[in-house]
Symmetry: C2
Subunit: 371 residues, 2 copies
Amino acid sequence: MAKRRSNSRPTISDVASLAGVGAITVSRALREPQKVSPALRKVIDDAIRQLNYVPDLNARALASKRSDVVAVLIPSLTQSVFSDVVRGIYDGLADSPLRIEVANTGYDPDIEENLVSRIVRHQPAAIIVSGTDQSATTRQMLENAGCPVVQIMDLSDNPIQQIIGFSHEEAGYQMTRHLVQQGYRRIAFLTAWLSTRSSGRLHGYKRALDEANLYDASLLVQRGSASTTPPPIAEQGGRSFLSAQMGKELMYEALERHPDIDAVFCNNDVLALGALFACQSLGVHVPGRLGIAGFNDFDYMEAAHPPLSSVRIHRWRCGYEAMTAVRHRLDGGEIDQAVIDIGFDIMERESTLRAKPLPASAATIGMAVSD
Amino acid sequence: MAKRRSNSRPTISDVASLAGVGAITVSRALREPQKVSPALRKVIDDAIRQLNYVPDLNARALASKRSDVVAVLIPSLTQSVFSDVVRGIYDGLADSPLRIEVANTGYDPDIEENLVSRIVRHQPAAIIVSGTDQSATTRQMLENAGCPVVQIMDLSDNPIQQIIGFSHEEAGYQMTRHLVQQGYRRIAFLTAWLSTRSSGRLHGYKRALDEANLYDASLLVQRGSASTTPPPIAEQGGRSFLSAQMGKELMYEALERHPDIDAVFCNNDVLALGALFACQSLGVHVPGRLGIAGFNDFDYMEAAHPPLSSVRIHRWRCGYEAMTAVRHRLDGGEIDQAVIDIGFDIMERESTLRAKPLPASAATIGMAVSD
DNA sequence: TTGCGCGATGGTAGCGCTGCCATTATGGTT
DNA sequence: AACCATAATGGCAGCGCTACCATCGCGCAA
């Protein structure tokens, strides 16, 4: 290694002396150009280009007590729901100096608490966190973080600061309504495990069936612990707990335990896909003998044979909007809207369309038909 | 805002004076505990706990010219191949102070160059980057980054420092061999777009068919530009270019243009899934009339009806090993092995198993059979 | 006894940047 | 003409930590 001093990167004062100005003016030209006269700005820009100067972000973060890292807390890195969200967040930071640091809570509030306690001390520029089920401690740390905090993928009357998402309860309700309208009467709910958000969907399902006097608690078919606390993670290194294989097994189980069911509402498209394969292997006709609906509307739902109905949720947009909100506030803006509902769409496809549907008068909110 | 000074976080010198030692000793106790006597260490630990002291990472990064951020460069955030890899990387940093910053190159060398130039100046602890097709400039920046650099998801004779992955060429070759052995003669290659790594698979496919005197260049069915340079990205906000729907369309096209094909090797499982649905909708029997093979071995391949053959690649492990290598070197270790081949497995499933396979004497390298 | 190597500890001087306040110039107001 | 608000710029003093070198004491060889 050669001498540090001589060949190390140019600093802000190198630029300043080349441009013949004070260091602070260079700093200002970089961060608040409108506060520097155009003439000087030009001189400084030239000097920067000439020296190939790049600011040291660590120094900046230390001096300003604020970094340009946006921390993103999600329950799972591998579920495509969340990768789409992250993608939206990432796309939202284009043309900004912001960076993202991703952390995985594994659906575990304790892990989340731990991560937040670490993250908060890094002085992040902002924090984006999934859902509303933070522990009290976590919530308080986030409140005191001193930076914008945006919750995503759910709704709440009482956001930490701001929340962007949709109602899982309402989505579950609407999809179940659709099934009822199509004439299905014995509708099972298939799930691998119930996260807080999954439970919302289940509640919506129950509400819709209660309304139609069709609810039967025994039609909930699930795997793993029914508790809301611990995570079902078995992702490490291999198969995820939430898999098409699991959907297939749940479907077999459902048909065996309740031969009279005429539809299944799957908590996740991956399960719906597995359920479809199960039906195919058993020669159970979809949608004639059995209707199948999923949740998320992954791309293969439309391509399936038959095309599978699902609830399209705006994952990418959710992330993107969250980032937009963050940037707005980082630019000094106020919170316009503490709760932003980005909605969802019920994608009615062949897998739940029976020959003779009931009159489709109701069920209009947040609906759309694909193709 | 109250006075900064009074209520701000405790610093290292607060700890030092409470413990009655020099600040530097506290610093040392934190980073190189073995250099501090056990007695003092205890006193310092107590002081830390009492004050609830947490080091300021920005200050540390500035002073040491080294942060604890591991930069991860991947071509796509949404393809589950890469989310699995990221998950592996993430799992690999457990119990370390390291964090990950994810950046998305979108398969574009220019974007990659840009990202690297920014990242390098943040003084990351390490850089993990996908593939071997960096531009010359990018490569040079990485060489000069002054931190561990690990390439992943491919192999090369000439890694920047270290590479962990597998041979796409060999994988394509082995899978195609398997198809030939099963008696398939007119094997099409379906792809949405050819990344550098996809091209490797295609080469392997060609090699295997050449050997068997079965190669026919017209059986390459692809969509989008055939060029290797530009990215096919249309992910933003909606459907990905690489989708089951695309696989379905490619399958239709293949059957129309080449009614005599008896198998398809899909560059990606998502395409294979779409191809299966296309066959189902056309009443084309799989594997009797048509064999289908995919690549990646996503979880639904095994669950499909019929179960779909694929090349299982060790995505999670690849990320995990990369992180392990990084940590080894951050701990002062040398590079043990510049090139680490983690292999792959040919998963032979029903979708490519014909009634009368040829004697399965050959094709033994890196093989495994599921179920 | 002297000297020396070595482990343990501390002091000093920044790392490169920005917050705060001061200073100067400018132009309009009374 | 005196005054003042405002814009443009700069100086100083750290932000909290670590690199570097110095120091101290102790045990052991000569």
